[in-house]
Symmetry: C2
Subunit: 452 residues, 2 copies
């Protein structure tokens, strides 16, 4: 076929916009791109364990169909031919949505979740399902960190972050209720977007906590996240006009809590990056968190527990033994909680959101470390959500980007947080920052880096 | 003074826009308007019991100040010189906010609630505080229905509705959590607006149920409600452009539940009105309620109970005996409720709102009876909220207008319901309908109508 004659083998993944241009011009065949990802998976996933299920046959058939379209000059959308992984709590038609639970092994999804349909309509190739912690909770999954196999990749979107970091797909979809996109993305040295609450439809996603769950993309470049966000956001959000973006963003550091509680080696890893962003940061004017931040983590836990208990109540009553220890603890907490405690937490959240809304104008983007430590050197935890959960709680848009390495060579990220609905502005600020940092890391090769 | 020479005594209240024009032109002095209201109050409130507290001195002083401004050609806003009553769960600086509770007799408000400040900035004269049921619950207050003193005026905004119906003020502010604006307005033969959830700030309002509470105006004409809404709505809402309004609205009847459960004499009272609105009603296409409506009333009660319990928890634990019987029952229900039950109700509400949002386009306004019966002939109840609570639950804008009388001469209303944020469109539809109906009722004179 003409297309294949034009295309050579692929030895690395480019940013999505470049890849789609290459597919459109016939320089790359989607089949070779898929094959590149499948080769990476077959080489590394035995140890990395980022994937629950692949659909090689469909992915290759779809690649051929998209190649034929491209040869006829037809490009479906900004993801034409791009291989993507989907966290295994999100329905993909014909595949089980196991959600890390043995009881769900035969829950075959009849339909794609709307967000998956949106990906497909934009030309994406769904490669398969990526590993999640059980029900997107805190029980560590088998996945390892591609930078060092003895370290956790973070969670709950463990497989999505590890797969993107190991170049097994060009992007992957995760979800965040506490810190489940930003933390694994940061631990694995890739970029993540947790959008404004409700910017992306959660239908067809196994809920953990309905008022805290946020689907969002993980990718290697902020430009990739921006493309994915355009594709994924709900129609109602799409009607919003994109904000006017200044060349240099207006950044404010959050010293309270985030600079104070970050580990010393995270601060030293990030200091050179913060220095490089100096031109944008209003150093004279750090952002002060509302006083109600003090009880935020406790209130976040309450909401998550009450809502998780409501979701899993019936299953839990009939088969509690099938639940992993940490999700069990969360559900039990929720089942024992009185409604007034939950109501108090919801009120606290409404007031915290209001206070943040008053203090954070649309033009400002906050910057702070994305995690309090780099990926812990153990596989018995998915790490600490305390730096990410405030923004899940507030429903504000967050983008994290790799920004340094700790002395052990593990990546550390900065996170950028904006006002509700200002996802594009936060993406623009993160893209500007990524460009300033101009990191030129070797990509991790899982086998070579194992120190355990 | 020149102004007073120009103004004659007032024998009835005109619509607000006409009154403000008369004040601006010097045809009416605000003092005479206030005096007219105070006279009505002193004549009728001994039996009607619509007022908790008046501030005659301040009201008259403010009237004089506003008159002087008008004489200098300065008009503060669309309520310049208009006497208004405020439900006694809303803070008015310097007055106690008793909320119907003996324990709060000395809770003097330090500041006006923001909605009261907005009224004052638009030129309103705050006449005093109107009777509320205890904590805006269901315990009957001393207020009577001006159309017949043996009938309830409804609640919980009992005093606000009765005072407007008896021409003791030109408008009054109420709040609705179940049916507390639309029901008393309907029972008392006046118009009411329960706006979109969060369209009006609830700061400085004693909460009953934080996610169900809606402040809103009660007045005699839809044009009055529209003016009050413009003044009262939050700044964030004001940035919304008003929808394009057609001359004839697009109305759809809700037969499910509302036409089915309305008492026969309500249906007969409203049939002539519905016939007069025929040109606007898509009779071929009644609106079908989402299936989840079936459990709505139970879920509404759950949310109200859990949130009321959270608000009153501390006071209740220290002095349960000070609470009236029905609010006690509600708080107890909430205190005994597990968080998962509350979470299930919140989920039900989110899904009901979503379903209504999908089925009700921005251009359509629903029409249905506002109450299932006219005001019951007793003072031991505030009536039945089942026709109003669905729209408090859904957070959708509602306007009710008097539309007929039952065989005992008690008024019955229609209510108009629109999509979230379409308050102006609902007001326009109700104004068009009010105009079609052209009711020319004698206003009630409380003493003359008592049949008990």
């Amino acid at each position: 076929m003409k297309g294949k004659q034009l295309t050579g083998m692929i030895d690395r993944l480019e940013p999505i916009n470049q890849t789609v241009r290459n597919i459109a011009s016939g320089t790359i065949a989607p089949r070779h791109l898929v094959q590149f990802c499948l080769d990476r998976i077959s080489r590394h996933d035995v140890v990395l364990r980022a994937w629950v299920r692949l659909d090689e046959h469909s992915a290759l058939a779809e690649a051929d169909r998209l190649e034929q379209m491209a040869l006829r000059g037809k490009i479906l959308g900004p993801l034409h031919g791009i291989p993507i992984g989907v966290k295994d709590i999100i329905d993909v038609a014909g595949m089980p949505t196991v959600a890390g639970s043995p009881r769900r092994a035969h829950h075959i999804a009849a339909r794609d979740a709307p967000l998956v349909s949106q990906l497909r309509r934009a030309g994406a190739i769904i490669l398969g399902k990526t590993v999640t912690t059980q029900f997107a909770g805190f029980d560590p999954p088998p996945t390892r960190n591609p930078w060092n196999l003895g370290h956790t990749p973070g969670g709950s979107s463990s497989g999505s972050a590890a797969a993107v970091a190991a170049q097994m797909c060009q992007a992957a979809i995760g979800t965040q209720t506490g810190g489940s996109i930003v933390r694994p993305a940061s631990y694995c040295g890739v970029a993540g977007l947790k959008p404004t609450y409700q910017a992306i439809d959660t239908s067809g996603v196994v809920p953990l906590s309905r008022t805290l769950d946020h689907p969002g993309p993980i990718a290697r470049h902020v430009s990739d996240l921006a493309i994915l966000f355009q594709v994924l956001k709900q129609r109602s959000q799409r009607q919003r006009s994109a904000p006017a973006i200044d060349a240099t963003p207006l950044l404010r550091i959050v010293e309270d809590f985030f600079m104070d509680e970050a580990a010393a080696n995270v601060i030293s890893a990030l200091e050179p990056a913060l220095a490089r962003l100096h031109a944008a940061i209003r150093t004279d004017n750090p952002f002060r968190l509302p006083r109600s931040f003090q009880t935020l983590h406790r209130m976040h836990r309450r909401i998550m527990a009450a809502e998780a208990a409501q979701v899993h109540r019936d299953e839990f009553e009939s088969a509690a033994g099938q639940f992993a220890p940490r999700i069990t603890e969360l559900i039990k907490e929720g089942l024992e909680m009185p409604a007034v405690e939950f109501a108090a937490a919801l009120e606290h959240r409404a007031l915290f959101r209001q206070a943040m809304g008053q203090q954070l104008d649309a033009a400002t983007v906050l910057v702070m470390p994305a995690t309090n430590t780099a990926a812990p050197p153990e596989l018995t935890t998915t790490g600490d959500a305390r730096f990410q959960s405030p923004w899940s709680y507030a429903g504000l848009p967050v983008v994290s980007i790799p920004a340094g390495k700790d002395p052990q060579g593990m990546p550390c990220s900065l996170q950028f947080v904006g006002a509700a609905g200002q996802d594009e502005r936060v993406l623009a600020a993160a893209a500007w920052s990524e460009n300033q940092l101009a990191l030129d890391w070797q990509r991790p090769e899982p086998k070579a880096k194992c120190t355990n």
